[in-house]
Symmetry: C2
Subunit: 429 residues, 2 copies
């Protein structure tokens, strides 16, 4: 690798412009650590004159990022646009084909097209780095690929979405409603002001789970069945109840191998208050890896925001500047296993169920009969009457119950006229 | 680098022999990840016929490790003997001078001779890797050097000695004495059966602190003044009292930069029960890094034992096999700053003091007068009488008090005939 490295930054939103400032202010530090001089020779965004936190050099500005590759000699391209397809995919594709290293924090792109792009990178003998796509500033991907390189990893789980974790922590503390807390999160910049759907429905966490699986288990990225539930339906009532039972509610992403099959999932969980994961609050992210021989490893840090994300992007940059070509997913594409998906209908788990019912004789017996019919046994049952409305909340913690059976059971309860709302189900962790 | 890499393992205690088994069983995995075939061509220990957990190949056994380097063509030497000088230092020195990469978990060696050995490695263009020297299986050194490469780190602290953390956790839970818990720890293999002194007096944790400082702040390893206190004098009585005050006792290693000066210390601390560090129990280690722009990063994992240590040694091996030469401390020796040591006498901290006194009028006034004389103000005072013995425990939580003043004050109290034992001092975190 030559001594001066030309860099292009494509996408100048919060992350892109923060990174640009980091690149400029840390040139000397980078030279000391790698012996390489970096030079940002091109930048691109949709709007040249938009107000940004940091000034940009308009002389090297491109509206069309694809043009950069024709015009300039680029060594490393940093893609910070952030969509799974469209121009994000096109520019990364074009860069790799032109033997340009690529760095991206784009989990949507990597979780969808990562396999294809990794093959492109390998074929063209360049690096494709995406540390910032999972866990913000937590260097979890590098830890899996390098720090725990020869461990056999069995399970990875964690809190992977800071927006959801903030909302859940805040709902717990303030007893406020989902809608109110969400709008507060939006005001504070912890949730997308426009459309926070992909954070709230679990999609963002699931994209990260897919990337973690691929690295941890050396498989290709999965794209078929999964269990993805968000936090939109969690009620402040649930927080009150689980608090008394000594639980907290967390949105977890979990991936593990069961009988050589991959089981990935994202859903809210009840976690005990005195566990490690039960005490990761606010916008923090945390990843727990269970490996052999290392045992349990925990990584925690700020999961989002321009600062932590830039930290991860810079670590990718330094890794490339140090000079060797690495497989994007740790091993060559032809060694990566095809995914066999675990049938989640076979899975069993303890459940928290909350049913809002008419407070009249016989209702409880209907419910318990249905549970028995679907082989779901009760570990704990609490009935909380609302005398004014003549209704009651029935809260049930079940013993381990089969997924398929619980689905069927809930469906059967939904149509019962004594049950006033769709039952709430949260899995225990 | 050629395709087949010759390895020598020197030191076949628990760690060395476990590692040897890992090397043999993970050859294929290593080949897949790095394209290199490894071959263990020499092993060495004092006793060829000692019973070990894993069988060794006696045909490649050396009693004198120095002979290996004359006899065989070695590419990578793994030193797992573990002393700070003597044969450990000699073999590492000789290997580096012969352009052989070195991997070692030996914190005593690195914290004492790391600067010198790093220069040797740099001059001979080989790697000197010591990930396993801090935090067992937690890849904390690699995280500082690579994952958080361009962050400005301000402070690093954590639980760095699993033996002490086990003993403190166990004393808290069982209310048992230090001596009893220590002997239990020795039976369980959590403390050295012979001489656990270097774990208990803070020496082991301090060695790790010095390595962490060097990597985090780009300074040479410090070797002058420090604050090193162990856990030998902590009494089960203290656990009872701090429990009521909502604290736990943890042995922390802390390093930070204050006014461009390095302040390293290891001592027991009172930490709030509801903090992250207050909930790292048993043999777990944890390291917290405060950096900019990444924010707070936490790494937690099993801090000792052959499994986690081997995991770290293997990550070093893979890093070397991937092929480039890295500075042992992240930057070239001539860029590493000389250490300026912070004068700890200037430091201020809240203190927990426990004094065992004669229960008679006037004693409390003597104590409070002394405290006032040394400018130490009381935040909270609890007197616990022991009516049978006509003694009392006086527990004081102070406001921030200057180190030098507190030292002088304790000295003055020690000689007072109404104070029956040397006062106990634990710093608040």
């Amino acid at each position: 690798m030559k001594k001066t490295i030309n860099i292009a930054v494509v996408g100048l939103g919060k992350i892109g412009s923060y990174l640009l400032n980091e690149l400029n202010s840390k040139k000397k530090d980078i030279y000391i650590k790698t012996g390489k001089k970096i030079k940002v020779v091109a930048i691109s965004a949709r709007n040249k004159n938009k107000k940004r936190q940091f000034k940009i050099n308009k002389n090297i500005f491109y509206t069309n990022p694809l043009k950069i590759i024709n015009d300039k000699k680029i060594d490393i391209l940093i893609e910070a646009i952030g969509s799974s397809d469209g121009i994000s995919k096109k520019i990364v594709e074009k860069a790799l084909k032109n033997k340009i290293h690529v760095i991206t924090p784009n989990k949507a792109l990597i979780s969808k097209h990562g396999d294809y792009l990794a093959v492109l990178a390998e074929k063209n003998k360049v690096n494709l780095e995406f540390e910032a796509s999972v866990g913000g500033g937590i260097p979890v991907l590098r830890t899996i690929k390098e720090g725990l390189a020869t461990n056999k990893i069995k399970k990875v789980y964690g809190i992977l979405n800071g927006t959801c974790n903030y909302i859940l922590s805040e709902m717990e503390q303030t007893k406020d409603s989902f809608a109110n807390v969400l709008s507060k999160a939006q005001k504070l910049g912890y949730a997308e002001p426009g459309n926070p759907k992909f954070d709230l429905n679990g999609y963002d966490a699931l994209a990260k789970v897919k990337i973690l699986s691929a690295l941890s288990f050396n498989n290709k990225i999965s794209n078929s069945k999964y269990l993805m539930e968000g936090i939109e339906n969690i009620d402040s009532k649930d927080f009150e109840i689980v608090d008394q039972l000594n639980y907290r509610i967390k949105l977890l992403g979990i991936t593990e191998i069961i009988n050589n099959q991959l089981f990935e999932r994202v859903h809210p969980c009840l976690v005990k208050k005195n566990t490690y994961i039960g005490n990761v609050n606010g916008v923090m992210n945390a990843v727990i890896l269970e490996g052999n021989p290392v045992g349990e490893s925990v990584l925690q840090g700020e999961g989002a925001g321009p600062g932590p994300t830039s930290s991860a992007l810079m670590s990718d940059l330094l890794s490339i500047l140090r000079g060797n070509i690495k497989y994007p997913f740790g091993i060559s594409d032809n060694r990566r296993k095809k995914v066999k998906i675990y049938d989640m209908n076979k899975y069993s788990n303890s459940l928290y169920l909350r049913l809002e019912v008419k407070d009249k004789p016989g209702v409880l017996s209907i419910i318990t009969r249905q549970l028995a019919k679907f082989n779901i046994s009760v570990q704990r049952l609490i009935q909380i009457p609302d005398n004014k409305r003549k209704t009651a909340s029935i809260v049930i913690i079940t013993h381990e119950a089969n997924e398929l059976n619980s689905k069927k059971c809930l469906k059967s309860l939904k149509v019962n006229s004594n049950i006033l709302k769709a039952p709430v189900l949260i899995r225990l962790f």
